[in-house]
Symmetry: C2
Subunit: 261 residues, 2 copies
């Protein structure tokens, strides 16, 4: 374990940069995972981080000490920071004092849609994107494609909301969704409040690419018109629509129900 | 329409107090609705506000002007603020410059559970509580009971996430959930990752009181043991759990599916 005591240390400067700038994270292809849960999930699913960063006082926490030991056993770099330096980097209030520096996983875009997938068209809110990733992972969906207008998946807020789902699904960002839908071999199903077919009546026992859209405007018209089917979640109340992450969960688990039926 | 130009005006002081303090909102039994959507929903569902507050520049916005006119037609008080004063009160960045001051609706606690209801035990995150209210309203559920540890429903974040659902469901806060469950005449169903019965296999064609719990710990053990049934949402992936708002949406719309089947 190394200790950094100077704010001029290059690694410290990199951490500070990544912690505060979404652009820096995108450009470097690196991000920070904050806290025990995400770090543990990374170790379980993806192995060693580039760096395990701990505050000096966090070393007394048995959970943190356990993760540090796992990192050292895998010959990962572990760096301790005095609490004042650590706190100046952490974006989490009352955090546990542990973060991983990782390389953002990047996969080559598949040639076509062949397995259960989610396509996010301009979904703005990081909490919604994170919740959708989490629900998708729980429903066994393994591919998520995001348009350039969708919230950056490797931001701290999305990571926190997804609770480790990032590490079990393949995430593709800045994707031209129309080019992906056009040659699709599987059903592409978009949700729309104006559709007449209920999601319960669609046959979901085959692979499906689900399309969800902007919180206010929904799925863009050009993508809607390219979809194989449009479905609606029927409402019994006076409220006009569902939150997009709630809508996605209903669709994914209706598919799980049909698969298990 | 009146205009306030002094920060010492009593109404202005009240607005500032309500805008910045959750405790003040609880104590006064009043809250602020920010923006066109919530204000419109209030007018549609509940009628005139105590006060309609607009920034002077917002009066040029046709949507805002339309709402001001509806308020005046209903003899509600409309107060204009110079932009500088308005912005010092608004908690929303780049807001439209419109808010309603309202009396927080309060209903007497029903003697027992008789219709579809949601019970929230220590749900912490305002976004989750808002999303659950919104899904409940869309699924036709009309009663929501919150334990004292659950996020305050009339806070700006919960209001924003629920998109007007507050005005079509009855919300009861600081409720002793155990006292409500014990004499229940209807099925009380709690979700738990350890349950063996799938939500799809529960008979949901009768009224149900759904119980959802804390984001980390789930439903408290004493409430779990009092529930008529415990159900699980089956997972096909490697992720341990769903976000509580996603979980609620799946349950509510499985009930809608069964009712419509």
């Amino acid at each position: 374990m190394k200790t950094i005591t100077s704010r001029d240390n290059p690694l410290y400067k990199e951490l500070k940069h990544l912690a505060t700038s979404s652009q820096a994270r995108r450009k470097a292809g690196r991000t920070l995972l904050d806290g025990v849960h995400l770090s543990q999930a990374w170790l379980d699913m993806r192995g060693a981080p580039l760096q395990c960063i701990v505050s000096e006082s966090a070393l007394a926490n048995p959970e943190v000490a356990g993760i540090v030991m796992r990192c050292e056993n895998q010959h990962a770099h572990v760096t301790a920071l005095p609490d004042a330096l650590y706190n100046a980097v952490s974006q989490v209030e009352h955090g546990v004092g542990l973060m991983f520096l990782i390389e953002t996983p990047a996969s080559e875009l598949p040639a076509s849609l062949t397995v259960n997938a989610v396509l996010l068209d301009n979904v703005q809110d990081p909490g919604n994107v994170g919740s959708i990733l989490r629900s998708a992972a729980a429903a066994g969906i393994t591919q998520v494609f995001c348009s350039s207008g969708t919230a950056f998946c490797w931001s701290p807020k999305v990571l926190r909301a997804a609770m480790g789902a990032h590490f079990v699904v393949e995430i593709y960002e800045n994707v031209d969704l129309a080019s992906l839908i056009a040659p699709s071999k599987i059903a592409v199903i978009a949700t729309s409040g104006y559709a007449t077919q209920r999601v319960y009546d669609a046959d979901l026992r085959q692979p499906v690419a689900w399309v969800f859209g902007h919180e206010g405007q929904g799925v863009a018209d050009d993508l809607l018109s390219m979809a194989t089917q449009q479905v609606v979640i029927p409402h019994l109340g006076q409220v006009e629509s569902l939150n997009v992450a709630a809508c996605a969960a209903v669709c994914f688990f209706e598919q799980v129900r049909q698969i298990q039926a």
